[in-house]
């Protein structure tokens, strides 16, 4: 059709070259990422094997941490339990708050307030965790004793709130610090998705006579579900990987207990941070083995979240 077929061919070939370069870049980065992930897993396994061999008791059930002792003995289950418990509690607190903050900045606050508010939330996401840890230690721990005591007094019949004393440095306190750290990231990501809700979905809700909250429930939240889940997964990652803030706030031991108002338990990450310096060769291997468990937990959580987002995501953002 064109009078300059050679020029057209040339054009098309350049375009194809662009495609090829981009495809190589994309596939290359994807592959590199997989290789790095696999390398980390292999490294963790190799480093952990000597310690796992030296372990004389079952590393999954022992409730103490003495890898360099004779016999060598270290329990990872208690750590994994502590990590998961504090992180889940943190999410339980932070997700509703974060979604509320996200809705406030995306749909409720007047424009002059919404922008600065969203900006502050983004800023909070960048605050180093040691700052949150210090806040937890100096402010939260002393001030949480009173509410903890009332919780125990009125709800003590629920196992979670059973307690044999009054403590500030508890699982509860650690979870609150983790929640505060997770809120900014969850709310920032939720907000980004909320504001992308297609206008015709929002108008569909208005047009059938929805109030504002009903509009949010029928249009914004279903569309934003994937964003809430992604944000929650990242928040979980931040909480379960946190070292210094937990180490500062929690008075650690190697118990497995659901009594969140009591001190005790520890998390994998905090344990690695506090123990690595003093550890001998086997001790380091033991810590790395616990790191491997942390790695596996986060993988499981990520895949679980993918499955949830993937299922029934038609029409939502993903």
């Amino acid at each position: 059709m064109s009078s300059t077929p050679s020029g057209e061919n040339l054009d098309r070939r350049t375009r194809r070259r662009g495609d090829a370069i981009f495809r190589m870049l994309a596939q290359g980065s994807g592959a590199a990422l997989l290789v790095i992930m696999a390398a980390i897993a292999v490294f963790l396994v190799l480093q952990a094997v000597p310690a796992l061999n030296a372990d004389t008791t079952s590393f999954l059930t022992t409730l103490k941490w003495a890898p360099d002792g004779t016999p060598s003995s270290f329990g990872i289950a208690a750590l994994a339990f502590g990590s998961v418990l504090t992180s889940l509690l943190a999410l339980l607190i932070s997700v509703p708050v974060a979604v509320g903050v996200a809705l406030a900045t995306s749909h409720y606050a007047p424009r002059w307030l919404a922008r600065p508010l969203a900006y502050v939330v983004d800023l909070l996401a960048a605050v180093p965790s040691v700052v949150f840890g210090l806040w937890g230690l100096t402010y939260l721990v002393p001030n949480i004793i009173a509410p903890s005591t009332s919780l125990n007094h009125y709800l003590g019949f629920i196992p979670f709130f059973a307690s044999n004393g009054t403590y500030g440095k508890s699982i509860f306190a650690a979870s609150i610090v983790l929640a505060v750290m997770a809120i900014p990231i969850i709310s920032a990501i939720s907000r980004e998705v909320f504001i992308q809700t297609p206008r015709d979905q929002v108008e569909a809700a208005w047009a059938i006579g929805a109030t504002k909250w009903e509009m949010v429930r029928t249009a914004i939240l279903p569309y934003g579900r994937s964003g809430i889940i992604s944000g929650t997964v990242l928040g979980f990652g931040r909480a379960i990987g946190e070292t210094i803030a937990v180490a500062l706030v929690l008075s650690a031991n190697y118990e497995i207990s659901l009594h969140i108002l009591e001190p005790g338990g520890n998390t994998i990450a905090a344990n690695i941070a506090t123990r690595y310096g003093e550890a001998g060769e086997i001790g380091r291997g033991a810590l790395i083995a616990s790191g491997l468990v942390l790695f596996i937990i986060t993988l499981i959580v990520n895949f679980g979240a993918r499955a949830i987002v993937g299922k029934n995501s038609r029409g939502g953002a993903s």
């Binding site: 297609p198 015709d200 979905q201 929002v202 569909a204 047009a207 059938i208 109030t211 279903p222």
Partner: protein, 258 residues
């Protein structure tokens, strides 16, 4: 049911922008009134004042009176949510709630009105889907998501959703412009059927469609470039297309501009 719509000296603004000026009109019940005119002259804007959807845009406001059977819907104290429950709307792009089931889409408005009786919801679902000529195509998959239907089916689902609450007025903003010719025909047939029960106001950029489906036609135009839109004339469709009063209308329908 099927109320008439009156506008008296209606001016419509988006912030400082004066979009539409001085509209006076009367829309009869149980008939189809079409709004035609070049794009950007304010047809959608006028339509969206009838269910108070205009004001969901920040800064948007309306002056003048808009009445349903004589009752001013902009009177202080009127709840826009109640107005929207009485005046249904169908949009240009089909917009069912994509993850909600077909059944839940149809009764979404009823559920907002706290109707929870299973039998009643089922009955309304069937009645509305039948009225929207969609029942036979979806009756075996009412639990499937609304997003799983074709574009034409989605638009009929949206019509079913709008009429499920038995509104006084049904507004349609270019309901066929995103659809193929066969789906368009299906919707036009449906409009002809629905006008027995409802007051219908439809915006269309397609003059043949206006001629086919409407009893009354209003022609909108801009006063001039950068001036507000206005209603040039509103009359029986037959008259508008054969012997309009205004020269601008005649120029438009004979294709001399727009």
């Amino acid at each position: 049911m099927a109320k008439n719509v009156q506008m008296k000296d209606v001016d419509i603004y988006y912030g400082k922008f004066h979009a539409v000026q001085g509209v006076n009109l009367s829309v009869p019940p149980r008939a189809v009134t079409a709004f035609i005119g070049p794009s950007g002259c304010g047809k959608s804007t006028v339509l969206r004042t009838i269910n108070r959807m205009h004001e969901v845009i920040p800064g948007a406001r309306v002056e003048g009176r808009v009445e349903l059977d004589g009752e001013d819907i902009y009177r202080p104290g009127v709840d826009p949510v109640e107005v929207r429950r009485a005046v249904g709307m169908v949009f240009q792009r089909p917009n069912p709630f994509p993850t909600m089931s077909i059944r839940d889409n149809v009764v979404a408005g009823l559920k907002l009105q706290r109707v929870n009786d299973k039998a009643q919801l089922n009955e309304v679902t069937e009645r509305s889907l039948r009225a929207a000529n969609l029942w036979n195509e979806v009756k075996d998959r009412l639990g499937k998501p609304g997003g799983s239907l074709s574009g034409g089916q989605q638009q009929r689902l949206c019509i079913a959703r709008a009429i499920a609450v038995q509104p006084d007025v049904l507004l349609m903003d270019e309901p066929c412009s995103a659809l193929d010719p066969i789906s368009t025909l299906a919707i036009e047939d449906l409009i002809g059927k629905l006008k027995q029960d409802y007051t219908i106001v439809i915006v269309t950029h397609n003059m043949q469609q206006a001629a086919r489906v409407s009893d009354r036609t209003g022609f909108f135009n801009l006063l001039a470039v950068d001036k507000p839109g206005r209603l040039v004339e509103l009359d029986d469709t037959e008259k508008i297309f054969s012997n309009p009063t205004e020269k601008a209308t005649e120029d438009y329908i004979s294709g001399r501009f727009g």
